[in-house]
Symmetry: none
Subunit: 136 residues, 4 copies
Amino acid sequence: MIQINERSMVPIYEQIVQAFKELIAKGALREGDKIPSVRELSAQLLINHNTVAKAYQELERQGVVASQRGKGAYVAKPAEEPGMERERVRQLRAELRRIAVEAHHLGIGSRQLADWFGEEIQRYGRDEHADRPQST
Amino acid sequence: MIQINERSMVPIYEQIVQAFKELIAKGALREGDKIPSVRELSAQLLINHNTVAKAYQELERQGVVASQRGKGAYVAKPAEEPGMERERVRQLRAELRRIAVEAHHLGIGSRQLADWFGEEIQRYGRDEHADRPQST
Amino acid sequence: MIQINERSMVPIYEQIVQAFKELIAKGALREGDKIPSVRELSAQLLINHNTVAKAYQELERQGVVASQRGKGAYVAKPAEEPGMERERVRQLRAELRRIAVEAHHLGIGSRQLADWFGEEIQRYGRDEHADRPQST
Amino acid sequence: MIQINERSMVPIYEQIVQAFKELIAKGALREGDKIPSVRELSAQLLINHNTVAKAYQELERQGVVASQRGKGAYVAKPAEEPGMERERVRQLRAELRRIAVEAHHLGIGSRQLADWFGEEIQRYGRDEHADRPQST
DNA sequence: GTGGTCTAGACCACT
DNA sequence: GTGGTCTAGACCACC
């Protein structure tokens, strides 16, 4: 269900956070679904349970999951009025810029880059309003 | 010329590296231009000279600038056959996915996201071949 | 395990890099083996820990070892398709020429020189393909 | 006659030293030949004359050329009893080892490496004694 | 003047 | 405990 790359530069707990957000974004996990317990997941991934716990805390902080005392954690309802928390949006745009710059120096053409992003958006993107067909 | 964010999680030397790559990508710095000396920049940014030196070494390692002993550093000629170093390209695509997922959870629509990226590409992107008109 | 020459012109961190590459080339260190921690080695060699850290970062950059946050560094799997990075190969051939010239001026005969190199190759060389007998 | 690479890591004065030693090793310059004056060469290479002067000092120190007051410098007679200055020979062998190790990590096979060195030796090597035919 | 290296000592994030 | 980053201040080689 989740793949961890021990040798990646990105911290393991972050990888876990991202993995869950990915599963949710592509619809493999839906609102109300139970996510595995800390112990279960740590056993399965062969990593320290503190690392998993840290990931879950982060997921909860971001409002992606919600723990219910003694019952485990569940995928939360997506924020009604989508946060648009300014700071994180600003950060996201900065990352878009960074990637554009990086691609430039790697010799990747604009066309190619936009296409790649298009693919990802198609899989993980959020369709704006159901009333607008053929978005993206 | 360069802005440093002391409170950012991304290390100062990385910020410097990115800033120069940005200036080059958008054409504000061109091949052969001299970049400020280590001491000059460190004085200007009010940071330690070693931090700047580390950034410059990284830029040199990436082939973005070339230093000449006792003379300073200059913007290098972009690699003729731009590596397309597989590992870094793979990483870049992973970042695109991560951003798509992130945006989903922030409630940002696909359309909006693609538009934002389009803006960045327009500023920093690399036009594929000069012989193809109206590209970008 | 590693010997540092304080008085050499070649920087300490470079000596460390070379020492590890030597240990790996001759098989004393193998894929997956743990290498000493930064602090451990710096204490043992009586040098500053930053110097060791710099060496380790260089080794990681070259893909010789891989560090894992909070766990230490390990000998990496040799690149499957060894880059044959053109620039570095070109440089290596230039060094071979330089040594031939140097030997000439030191009055070292061709035969002697080739023999010496043969010895080193035997210890540190890479056998081409296991399926080709009598290689080396 | 001499090519300088401004952007090389090896200092310019060293490049000059090596260039002369190369010319001598391959027979393009012979004992007694005059080498250009400091001013002449610095003008020709478009570099600072101090740099050329430093190179010439080094060549003289190594006994490769000999200056005659007011007349210029000439290629010296190769040391009768070839120095075999122990320290430099030791250093040369260390370089051979380093190259063997480097080649290993670059994925260069022993056979290939030995062949390359053979080529260089053929061009720049010193035949032991004229009485031994087909040496190398 | 330039960049490159090293030390000493500090703080932080990750496991 | 691990590696990663930063500062302060020093010395050196090159031009």
